[in-house]
Symmetry: C2
Subunit: 333 residues, 2 copies
DNA sequence: CTGTTAGCGCTTTCAG
DNA sequence: CTGAAAGCGCTAACAG
């Protein structure tokens, strides 16, 4: 069933029907109603490919994230979807699994007009931004969230990572911790770097020497990270806290402590970025730094849709910073 | 940049270039190579809308799931994406948030040829399947996973829910529990019904009377569920175990026990369907029934792609059943 | 307010 | 092996 046939059933021309379906002001309310009614009855909707082709624009966006089993990213995507739904957008989803090459390949796939815009959170490996610059060159609107790229002028939605990490570190210091290990999820990503800076600043301000032996630069390989942390904890016997800069590293910290027979929080306290606040509930020793993921998704989608719909306006200096919060159990540790 | 311009740059006709890009056998290897090389260099890819319009088929699928913050669904989607990536498919994602109306609206949105096929897990509320039948009528290939619809003949990928629930109940019985509450996440969904049957069968086979006062039919409203479970636990003082039939209900069970000051697992043991095996690690009192989510995604995608690519073959009697597993901590409870 | 017509960018007969 | 031309289904400029 196509528009032409559908129009015939109404004894109208295709153009009139098309205009009616698109709620054009040059169609009488009466015919509009007639068209809309039959369309609903016959469940007719115009072919989106033809429509997109003709209009040269398109209500599909891509969301490119490292990993959707991370509760934070999952919730962000729900935030994006809720706005998309409302505005009639469709979402294509792609995972980089923190691989730079996969990120490059995915963006290449998206550079041919398949999508009207892109919402993007960088892979932990990404260290070169030419593939992002290519998006700008091709005039494809995009918005960064969480793992943003500092070097590129673009709309960005984040939390204040430095402050959050500072607070978390302070929280540990106040509880008497002095030898706090920091697990850095990426040497390149601004997000992780800022978290590290917050950690270092808090130590320095409290006159505690920063010991680089306690800073672990992790990779995207889980097994490697487990080995590295095991090594750290067995060589640095006096570590009294772990600060994990990502959800995955929080999980790993648990596993390693457990396998080494280290008691949390008696021997080592654990704090980490994670939106799986359940974790904090399941185990009182764990304190989560939680980001407002749903709102981040909302904001990112809102900006992207604006920049798709108003291409003449430049949104590339938009920076939205929301606040994260410390989720801890009542005074148990 | 379109095909015509690109062809001009090569001194070839559009048709030749098109055929070369699509690896047609009637093009010489030499020109193919020449075309492919320049295409890569100029990062040229044909407009997917024009291509889909002309071909009348399309390498985009939709994934419709209740909720992506559920670790199980997130992992299934990663399983789907890994196959999609490999086969050059794109994934549109939609969430029903367990709302029947949203499910209907979403499928309606997809019935106009936007996608080549659909992978679907039903909302907990869904009780009427006309919207699914509409897909069949329109010849849109689709595959159910996990929350399948028994009444409709279609390709399905699930786990053996009855057996898994039976084993879980047996596990509790072996540990001395006699008053096991069962939290049913949906009165309609086959998945939950089968879990309930497994639970009932295990009790019956062990000569334990099934007390309907211990079976709680939950809704999609978290707050209501918390209240209902609180009520159950305060009126049925002898409950010694909770069996939660979904991840969300497992989480709620924790929260309610905690707020009532009930010690898990001393007073009440907890077992539940959940793919967040982390939970089992964080708290030894929790035993997870974990489904092979990634593989379920793989299987569902594989079947869907087959039925898109070979429309003459009928896959609607395909049923793949994988095994779930009990994730428990070493003898701690 | 409605109809006619051209053309979006691609693929695919058909012709050579 | 390559090119010319038609047409997928829709929308928008133009005409009335």
């Amino acid at each position: 069933m196509n528009l032409k046939e559908f129009a015939k059933a109404l004894n109208l021309s295709a153009s009139t029907v098309s205009r009616a379906l698109n709620d054009s002001h040059e169609i009488s309310t009466k015919t509009k109603l007639r068209v809309l009614e039959l369309a609903k009855e016959m469940n007719f909707e115009p072919n989106p490919f033809a429509s997109n082709l003709r209009r040269q624009k398109n209500k599909t966006i891509a969301v490119v994230v490292p990993d959707i089993t991370n509760h934070f990213f999952a919730k962000v995507i729900e935030g994006i979807e809720s706005i998309a739904q409302e505005k009639g957008y469709h979402i294509l989803i792609y995972f980089t699994l923190d691989s730079y090459l996969k990120e490059v390949a995915t963006l290449r796939l998206l550079s041919n007009g398949r999508v009207g815009g892109i919402i993007l959170s960088l892979s932990a490996e990404t260290n070169n931004y030419d593939h992002i610059r290519e998006l700008k060159k091709r005039n494809i609107p995009f918005v960064f969230f969480d793992r943003v790229c500092e070097e590129i002028e673009a709309a960005k939605v984040t939390t204040d990572n430095k402050t959050a990490a500072h607070q978390a570190t302070k929280y540990l210091l106040e509880r008497g911790c002095r030898r706090i290990a920091f697990l850095n999820f990426s040497e390149f990503t601004a997000t992780s770097i800022k978290r590290k800076i917050g950690y270092i600043d808090a130590l320095t301000q409290n006159n505690i020497e920063v010991d680089t032996a306690l800073i672990l630069n992790c990779s995207t390989n889980k097994k490697e990270n487990i080995e590295a942390l095991t090594h750290l904890l067995t060589t640095q016997k006096d570590v009294d806290a772990i600060f994990a800069s990502s959800e995955n590293l929080s999980i790993i910290s648990y596993q390693v402590c457990e396998s080494l027979g280290i008691n949390i929080p008696q021997q080592i306290k654990l704090i980490g970025f994670s939106n799986m606040t359940l974790a904090a509930h399941l185990n009182p020793s764990f304190t989560c730094i939680t980001q407002p993921a749903f709102e981040i998704g909302n904001e990112a989608a809102t900006i992207l849709f604006k920049s798709i719909e108003k291409p003449h306006i430049d949104y590339s200096d938009t920076l939205i910073q929301l606040n994260s919060s410390l989720v801890k159990r009542n005074s148990t540790n």
